[in-house]
Symmetry: C2
């Protein structure tokens, strides 16, 4: 019989449809293997083509060259300049679309997805996230910052060169408000951070844990809304991503890289998103919220039931997904490594 499981952070119910269940490996999407060049003359993110992108706002330097570069998004969703104004007209509420939309060029190499990068390069990517996060959070127009990566067409990008993005908005979305509100309710009732509690239970039970780092733990959420969605939690209580320290960044890099490599080798380089779910600046120090990174492989499609009800149907048992990922040897076979 299928099972309904409740997401412990949003209170949303998820249908784990074991009757429809597939073996994890059945979800891998066979793709044409496309040999990617390490440099593409038309790519605005490749070294030497820097002038094709807007002027750089940050770089992690590398002896005259760069390891990571951050530029304003050329097709920004929000305008960088301008004052914030609000308009109220009958039932309509609008604000002008002021905010910051950056692109992180994850690596100079056009062909290397995060799963194949050295841990040190992933550390540099995360360090650049942190630097930009702190910089834009200081802008009084910014209420919330979302950092994310889209990998592959199903995940919403057609740009090949590995990159991630940051959008700083002048509002806190009701989605984020809802998560904070649920966490606060739990804190008010039990005097504890629900995220800390869940992490403790996951470590004790073990069946959904994928990777254990010194400071970070990756696990499949109990009420995962889609196959192989993976949470990476800091062990230390922190509401804001801005509070991560240098040692933790290195550990997060290793754990994230390990999760992405397991997906890459186990499920044939699936399209995926990841996103950092942090408290907004105004709640940076609260005892009830806990930031984390969420990796969402795009193996299935949202259909009318999900759009209508807000509930999701997951056809892979989170415990089976975790076991599958634990067993993936996330390395190139020796013969191919180079």
């Amino acid at each position: 019989m299928p099972e309904l499981r409740q997401n412990r952070f949003t209170k949303e119910w998820v249908i784990v449809a074991t009757e429809r269940a597939k073996r994890p490996e059945e979800l891998a999407v066979k793709k044409e293997t496309k040999e990617m060049p390490h440099y593409s003359p038309k790519c605005p993110f490749c070294p030497g083509n820097e002038a094709m992108a807007p002027p750089e706002v940050l770089r992690i330097p590398d002896d005259g060259a760069w390891k990571v570069r951050v530029v304003p998004n050329k097709f920004a969703a929000l305008a960088r300049e301008g004052e914030l104004t609000r308009k109220i007209e009958r039932s309509k509420r609008t604000m002008n679309g002021v905010g910051i939309h950056d692109v992180f060029v994850d690596t100079p190499d056009h062909a290397l997805t995060t799963a194949l990068l050295p841990d040190e390069q992933v550390t540099d990517i995360l360090s650049s996230y942190l630097l930009r996060f702190k910089q834009v959070s200081a802008d009084p127009r910014v209420a919330h910052v979302t950092i994310f990566k889209n990998h592959g067409v199903s995940a919403g990008t057609s740009l090949e060169h590995p990159h991630s993005q940051m959008i700083a908005t002048p509002v806190i979305s009701s989605h984020v408000r809802g998560r904070l509100h649920e966490a606060l309710r739990h804190y008010d009732e039990f005097g504890e951070c629900i995220f800390c509690t869940v992490l403790g239970e996951e470590l004790e039970e073990g069946s959904r844990v994928v990777v254990e780092g010194k400071q970070f733990v990756a696990f499949e959420p109990f009420a995962s809304s889609s196959p192989f969605a993976t949470h990476i939690f800091p062990r230390r209580h922190m509401a804001s991503f801005g509070d991560i320290n240098q040692e933790e960044i290195q550990d997060l890099a290793a754990v994230l890289k390990s999760v992405l490599a397991k997906l890459y080798f186990g499920l044939e380089n699936p399209d995926f998103n990841y996103t950092i779910r942090t408290a907004p600046a105004e709640s940076a120090g609260v005892p009830y919220y806990h930031w984390y990174l969420s990796v969402i492989p795009r193996l299935t499609r949202v259909a009318g039931f999900e759009l209508g009800s807000g509930m999701f149907i997951n056809t892979v048992l989170p415990e089976a997904a975790a076991e599958f990922l634990r067993n993936v040897k996330a390395e190139k076979p020796a013969a191919v490594a180079g």
Copy 2:
């Protein structure tokens, strides 16, 4: 400059990114035109193949044959039989997956999508929705009913034969609870149904209206989260779809058909979902909620920003989408009709 608009029912902000804006017609996805047969020998939904599907639970008869047939979903997300039990274990909340998952075979014709069906056939489809809605709502295990249609691969189906679905769940999702809660807050503050108010304003302003029927109105929501998402509201205040009357069903059929035909002819048969957003049975008579039908063409992809923040970026101005749809002549050219 882009604009932030607030969804008046969920309070979620949407970025209307006019800088990235596309002309509506640019979103049409060119597809290989595939000549579909009117009958397929392997299709479980074609007349004559009834034995390939589970035993029928409802039919709209047609002189020995049928116009619409309803069968249990062979790959049901929930189990039809069984008692509802709830389990609470530390932070984990589960229920067994009891519920009803039906498939509506929209027409005996394998090749005719809703946009091309006669209005009378659409009336029969909606009548079958209503019959099943009332039947399953009477089941004490059922808390909420979602009726929806998936058309095309991007909308989550690979089955060609036109069909729709109903999933009756033993819980009310937190998504649905949230909509009810926001509507109740508005009612408590202003003493009015926010949906009735918005409908009145849309009719006065006119710029987002697509089709006006006698009992139903189709319009592009002010804070539409994706291009060409269209709401169809009943003019009469009703919280539950179960309260629709026969005359209204006929008008809804004509308006829905008109919207789908405009999408079909204007945007080259896009993949789409539609869903009926009704109050749950326990709130069937409330003065603050108002059911409606939502049509969601699947022209863009959800990416990391949406998954992380819950906010959407819409690259088509709702007013431009409405104007475009108003101008689509939703008929086959005379030379092709037949």
